[in-house]
Amino acid sequence: MQSFEYANPATVQEAVGLLSAKWGEADVLAGGTDLISLMKDHLHTPKRVVNIKNIKELEGIQKTAAGIRIGALVTMDELAKNADVKASAKSLSDAAAAIPSPQIRHMGTVGGDLCQRPRCWYYRQGFGLLAMKDGKSLVPDGANQYHAIFGSGPAYFVSASSLGPALIALGAKIKLVSAKGPREVAAASFFVSPANETSREIALHPDEILTEILIPPATVKSATYEVRQKEALDWPLATASVTLTMRGNTVASAKVVLGHVAAKPWDSAEAAKAITGKAITADTAEAAGKAAVASASPLSQNAYKVTLARVAVKRALLEAAKQKA
């Protein structure tokens, strides 16, 4: 790990003053579960690390008339156990609880989950975010069994965020603060598919800190279903988060967002359309699953993920249907 200056601010204002307008100069440290590994592998070589764990205003979960506010420093463990989140945003609670390592849940934060870098092995081995060689990505003809099945490049990694799909499906907002002040972005526009090697996979600017998440108040049923290769610590192969607004037994409106299948969480309007106006049964859930993957374009080694994504959508819908709303 390259040496760095370690700053320990006590307020957001102080913290953003320590950041830089350029990526690579300073990194924000919260739980450390990703950043410290990135620094060991020299993928991030910041001159300054800004520890935000002593900033009290970034802590806590509050339920108000405006919805549920979740501070960026809330750990996955706190999120998974919070009664308000469990009651009104079950899909988010499930997504946090499903991270299969207690140590990661104790350390990892909500902000860190959203800002973590891709797990793509080309990126992690130093081939760059898009793994470009001679103007062409190495991924489509390479070892791509864990890569994207949606999107047309040039990014073929999959978004690693566990919470992203649930937050998008719940219509959450993300607050970002820089020295110039705060701004809010919809969770759906926070994740981006980078067009070139020097851009990022999130809308955060280098001089900003993600401070909190706001989940709007709503009476919905929601669920997240994950498909994993193994039970112990690993990232999922495919996930689906669904949010349903019901009218009696039928779905009045739906959001279906898939995870780990594209460079950003994949909002499937097709699956939402397929289930809207219908009661959720094994057949309608199956049809929504099929609709979700109709436009998938798998790479040479990951056609199996199309099946996993289809089944994840079906099971998430059936799981959500079981809830009281």
């Binding site: 760095f4 200056e5 700053a7 410290i36 299969p100 390592s101 207690p102 112990a232 610590l233």
Partner: protein, 207 residues
């Protein structure tokens, strides 16, 4: 021959003490110089580094001081600077669990915590457990190790898990130990050991 020996009590010949004495572990040799009782906590500095900075850790109830760059992880501080070699360095990327210690009452990966960041939080390592603690004893009873390299991490993860789940089912144990890998595949023994430790710790009240 205990793996839970406090590194400061060199009252028996152990394999580790022998290696340290042979000068193989430079940390072991240097530790006598670096490890000293802290006189006072360092003033809350806003910025430290990039050069070496004074760091005070609370390890197994004792304040311990060292001087290290902010880039030094808690795991490297424990092993290389302070001779607490119980926590093991395997993946060093927060995915295997061999470096598990307790920090502020929760199990964490010491490889993914900066030492400078661990100041002010009580840290508990395997060296802090008595040799005949109910968890280690249950691991021995169930032959819950082969090469043994994951064992200190497994024992500390068990301690963290049982603190939250004093009456676990086998399914709870499978999930609760999901942050630790055993490359020898001794999971059957480990799971039985965790269940037995839970039973014995209840009998012993405070475990």
């Amino acid at each position: 021959m205990s793996s839970t020996k406090d590194p400061k009590t060199k009252n028996a010949v152990s394999r580790r003490g022998f290696l340290g004495g042979m000068g193989i572990g430079t940390g072991a040799v240097g530790a006598g110089l670096l490890e000293r009782e802290a006189i006072a906590s360092p003033a809350a500095a806003t910025v430290a580094g990039p050069g070496a900075a004074p760091i005070t850790l609370n390890i197994n109830g004792k304040p311990v001081s060292l001087t290290a760059e902010p880039s030094v992880t808690l795991l490297d501080a424990l092993r290389n600077h302070l001779d607490y070699t119980g926590a093991k360095k395997v993946c060093d990327r927060g995915t295997c669990g061999a470096c598990t210690v307790m920090m502020a009452g929760k199990s964490v990966y010491a490889c993914s915590v900066l030492a400078i960041d661990a100041q002010g939080k009580p840290i508990e390592t395997i060296e802090g457990l008595p040799v005949d603690n109910p968890i280690s004893t249950a691991f021995v009873n169930h032959d819950a190790q082969q090469c043994g390299y994951c064992t200190p991490g497994m024992v500390m993860a068990t301690k963290g898990f049982l603190a939250e789940h004093p009456n676990p089912t086998l399914e709870d144990v499978k999930n609760g130990m999901g942050g630790n890998l055993c490359r020898c595949g001794t999971y059957m023994g480990i799971r039985q050991a965790v269940l037995e430790a839970a039973k014995n710790m209840k009998g012993a009240k405070n475990g």
